[in-house]
Structure formats: structure tokens, C-alpha cells
């Protein structure tokens, strides 16, 4: 059937289809002759009637694009009334496109309505949406997104973004592919690109911090607990400054599977199930620090399980604020030799580093909590304090 073939080709060429062979259940348009037979619209839209997914399109785009592609059977009319002949009685305010005959678009009263009457030849201006049809809508709720200029990166949206990026590989992820994998309406490549940029720079920042923390805690292990001995042939004194500069933290490809999604600004962590089994792996591999738990691994294998640490991040930036550089941290006495004298190591952090850390809290209280532990109830704390004779906090008198 010519019409069907045409429409098929039309969709394929005009919608920037990228066929992802790994996509399960992806409709293989090339094999089927009749596009219309493939698409099970009920499946797509999950409602009894013939309602197309919610898409609010900018009327200008719509008018502009459709005019090229819609055949004679379609008409575009604009109305400014908010009529709604939607048989479902849906009350949402998004544009609703109907398959087939009457089309209603309900918009805000102030906006111009675009009512599109078209047959199945339709073009979606968002490349991502075409791919989304028929495959994902069964699993995902219809994203109720508006096609406005500024994207609101909700946690859900961001999560999808992160999923897509991880699938592709953070450094290799390209906005157009991310867009496809996300399958979200109304995201432009530009939106994704700028978000990706922010995400990457945030990640580097976090990784740098974690690297520092990991390095520090690792050294502590080497000094104290690692019975297999340090790898360092020059003596234990020189903890290898293996940290690369923050901008170039390498990401060995194999570790991508274990990459714990770094928490991003403003959003609570989601999907904590990945985290627990990540703990065990890497020591020592100071470079790939995203696997590093916040707490060093005990060598005999009894890894502490820290679900609460990971899940409680509510802070905007959930990075560990690593203790200052290692040379400040340890107290070690200076008569160190190789094989002669007896080196003495005080495993306690140096006063300076503790002071610096605490001072940091005092001077910059807005900084996020380094661990993000679940905070106690204020009332509980106050009650407890009152039992110890403290009625106001901070106390009026200075402490002993």
C-alpha cells in the first residue's frame, strides 16, 4: 500500500529515528508493510478511546511543520476557545491529539489553540517521541511534560538522564543519543547538552573529593591494617600521590557497571539498590573512586554495610568533604629510617586537619553534610539536653 509505505518512510526519515538494536520490543518498521497494523494504539495510549499522548506543542511549530507534511485531508484550525470534546473527559490541560478524525487541543484560555485534524500521517517534531511510541509507554507513565523553553529537571527526568548517560558512558555520552534513550517529549538536544555539561562538571568535583577521601582512608589502612604490606618499595613513608588532577579522573570502562550514580544537586538520591554491592571491589584502586564507599573496606572481608549513609543524601551536593591533604593529616615523628630506627605513627588525625574541618563548618554552615546522616529530631535532642540541664541551645555560657 503506497500510502502506508509513504508514511512509514516519512516517519523514518523525518523523525531522526535511530534504531537501537538493543532495544527490546522495538518495532521494526522496516519489516512490516503496514505501519498502521503494527501500532496498537490501545497499547500506546492505554485508554479506551483514541487518545494520543499528551503533547503540548507550540502552535507555531505545529502549524509550520504540519503544513508541510500533512496531506490534504488535514486541516489546521486555530481557535481560542477552550473547547473540549474529549470523550474521555480528561481534564488535563495539555494538548490532546486524536488519531483520526476530530482533533481537539485544549489549552489555556489565553493561548491560541491549535486544532489539528489529520490522518495518520503525522510528524512529531521531537525526535525522541517517535521512538517512544509503542515501546516504552507500557512501562513508563506518560511523561506529562510541557514543551516550554525552560526544562524543569525533575528527579524523575534527571534519573532518566542519568540512566541514559550511564548506558552510553559518561564521557562518551552524546546529547542526541541521550535524548533518544530518555525518550522524553519536548527535550531538545540543547537542553540535554547543557544539562550534561553541568552533570559532568559536578561529577568531576565529587570524584575529586572522593578520591581525596579514598586516598586518605586507604593510606590509613596501609599504615595500620594492611597486613600484606604496602606496595610501596620506597618505604611506607611516601604515600603515592596517585591522584590525578580532578579534571582528568579516568574512568576505566569496566567499572562503569559499578558506577554509583552520583547524587546531583537538588535531588534526592533515587534507586539505592545499586549501591550496596559496590562496596567490595576496588581497594586499592585509587583512581576509580566512585566505587569507593565512604568508609574503607576492612580487609578481612567483613565490609560494613552502610545503607543509611548512601540513602540519606538530601544535601544538594553529596560529596565527601575529604580531609585536607595527607601531609597534614597524620602525625608522624620524624626519626624515620629504612630499617634502622623504629618509626612511630600516630594514627590520629592531626589537630590542624580537624581544626580546619570544624572551622569549615563554622564559617560555611550552608555546605552540605559530608555524610548526610539522617538528622535526629530536634525535639528529641532538646529533651535530652534538658535532662542534662541545658535549656537553650546554643547555651548562653561558653562551654568548659
Amino acid at each position: 500500500m503506497t500510502a502506508a509505505m509513504e508514511s512509514q518512510e516519512f516517519l523514518l526519515t523525518s523523525c531522526e529515528f535511530i534504531t537501537d538494536p538493543e532495544e527490546k520490543g522495538f518495532l521494526d518498521f522496516t519489516e512490516h508493510g503496514d505501519l498502521l497494523d503494527i501500532i496498537d494504539f490501545d497499547d500506546l495510549f492505554g485508554v479506551a478511546g483514541d487518545v494520543l499522548p499528551d503533547l503540548e506543542m507550540d502552535p507555531e511549530i505545529l502549524a509550520g511543520e504540519l503544513s508541510d507534511h500533512v496531506n490534504a485531508a488535514s486541516t489546521i484550525t486555530t481557535t481560542s476557545s477552550s473547547e473540549k470534546t474529549d470523550s474521555q473527559g480528561e481534564t488535563n490541560k495539555k494538548g490532546i491529539w486524536r488519531k483520526g478524525e476530530e482533533v481537539v487541543s485544549k489549552r489555556d484560555h489565553n493561548k491560541t489553540h491549535v486544532v489539528v485534524n489529520y490522518d495518520r500521517k503525522r510528524k512529531y517534531s521531537s525526535s525522541a517521541s517517535s521512538k517512544n511510541k509503542g515501546i516504552r509507554n507500557n512501562e513508563l507513565p506518560k511523561p506529562k511534560v510541557k514543551c516550554v523553553k525552560k526544562v524543569d529537571w525533575t528527579p524523575e527526568l534527571h534519573r532518566r538522564f542519568v540512566d541514559a548517560v550511564e548506558k552510553l558512558g559518561v564521557e562518551k555520552a552524546v546529547p542526541s543519543r541521550i535524548l533518544d534513550l530518555m525518550g522524553v517529549h519536548c527535550l531538545t538536544r540543547h537542553n540535554v547538552a547543557s544539562h550534561l555539561q553541568k552533570y559532568r562538571s559536578h561529577r568531576r568535583h565529587l570524584l575529586a573529593r572522593e578520591a581525596e577521601a579514598a586516598n586518605w582512608t586507604r593510606k590509613r589502612h596501609i599504615y595500620g591494617l594492611d597486613s600484606t604490606g604496602a606496595n610501596n618499595k620506597n618505604g611506607w613513608l611516601a604515600p603515592a600521590p596517585t591522584l590525578p588532577p580532578p579534571a582528568t579522573v579516568p574512568s576505566p570502562p569496566v567499572n562503569h557497571h559499578h558506577f554509583r550514580p552520583l547524587h546531583v544537586w537538588g535531588h534526592p538520591m533515587v534507586d539505592q539498590s545499586v549501591i550496596p554491592h559496590v562496596w567490595h571491589k576496588h581497594l586499592p584502586s585509587p583512581l576509580w573512586v566512585s566505587e569507593t564507599p565512604y568508609w574503607p573496606i576492612i580487609h578481612n572481608g567483613t565490609t560494613p554495610y552502610f545503607p543509611t549513609v548512601a540513602t540519606k543524601f538530601r544535601a544538594p551536593v553529596a560529596g565527601i568533604q575529604a580531609p585536607p591533604p595527607h601531609h597534614m593529616v597524620y602525625n608522624y615523628k620524624s626519626d624515620l629510617g629504612f630499617g634502622g630506627t623504629r618509626p612511630v605513627v600516630d594514627l590520629h588525625p592531626s589537630k590542624e586537619s580537624v581544626d580546619a574541618a570544624i572551622g569549615d563548618v563554622l564559617t560555611r554552615p550552608w555546605l552540605p553534610l559530608p555524610l548526610g546522616l539522617k538528622p535526629p529530631a530536634v525535639d528529641g535532642v532538646m529533651t535530652e539536653l534538658q535532662r542534662h540541664g541545658i535549656s537553650e541551645v546554643p547555651p548562653a555560657a561558653s562551654c568548659a
Binding site: 577521601a213 590509613r220 599504615y223 595500620g224 591494617l225 597486613s227 604490606g229 604496602a230 610501596n232 618499595k233 618505604g235 611506607w236 565512604y294 568508609w295 576492612i298 567483613t302 560494613p304 554495610y305 552502610f306 543509611t308 549513609v309 540519606k312 565527601i320 568533604q321 593529616v329 629504612f338 630499617g339 623504629r342 618509626p343 605513627v345 594514627l347 590520629h348 588525625p349 580537624v354 574541618a357 570544624i358 572551622g359 563548618v361 563554622l362 554552615p365 553534610l369 559530608p370 555524610l371 548526610g372 546522616l373 539522617k374 538528622p375 535526629p376 529530631a377 530536634v378 528529641g380 535530652e384 539536653l385 541545658i390 537553650e392 541551645v393 546554643p394 547555651p395 562551654c399 568548659a400
Partner: protein, 95 residues
């Protein structure tokens, strides 16, 4: 009246405690550090610590386990071990 200021104070103390936790300090060390460096009344620190512990039982349980493992090895033992490492490595480097 001191409602939100006590909340933020407690939050600050929590923040400092977390910093100490990163240093793997014990509760006592933490109390001392906060008192010394930030003038936080010891009882406040210890109360906040205890409450944090209640809210984050698993974390602190594991933290304690780690701490006790560390303490098992005394400084003397640590020194001996390091001594051994050094002598081993100097042997190795004699090619």
C-alpha cells in the same frame, strides 16, 4: 522561641560530627575536638552524637566495629608491622 536557631545549631553540630566521622574519630575524640575547636559544650556534642546514633543505627554499628578492629592493633603492633614492611622492602630492592 529558640526553635529554629536550636535546630540550626543542632544541624551544625551534626555537621561537625560528620566531619569527625570522616576522620574515624571516636565519640570521645569528637567531643573533645568540637569543644576545643568550636566551643561546643561536650554534653551537646555527646547528645547529638547519641541521637544520630539512634537515627542511623546501622551506620554507627558498623562504624563501631571498624573502630574496635582498629583498636585491636596497638600502636606497638603497628610499629612492628611497619618495621617489617620496611625491612622486607629493603630486602626486595636488593637485586
Amino acid at each position: 522561641m529558640a526553635g529554629s536557631s536550636s535546630a540550626s545549631y543542632i544541624h551544625m553540630v551534626q555537621h561537625m560530627i560528620e566531619k569527625c566521622l570522616i576522620f574515624h574519630m571516636s565519640k570521645e575524640e569528637c567531643v573533645e575536638a568540637l569543644s576545643k575547636h568550636a566551643n561546643i559544650t561536650p554534653v551537646i556534642t555527646s547528645t547529638v552524637w547519641k541521637e544520630l546514633e539512634k537515627e542511623n543505627k546501622e551506620f554507627f554499628k558498623a562504624y563501631e566495629e571498624r573502630q574496635s578492629k582498629q583498636e585491636q592493633m596497638s600502636e606497638e603492633e603497628t610499629n612492628q608491622m611497619i618495621q617489617k614492611i620496611i625491612s622486607d622492602s629493603s630486602k626486595d630492592s636488593d637485586d
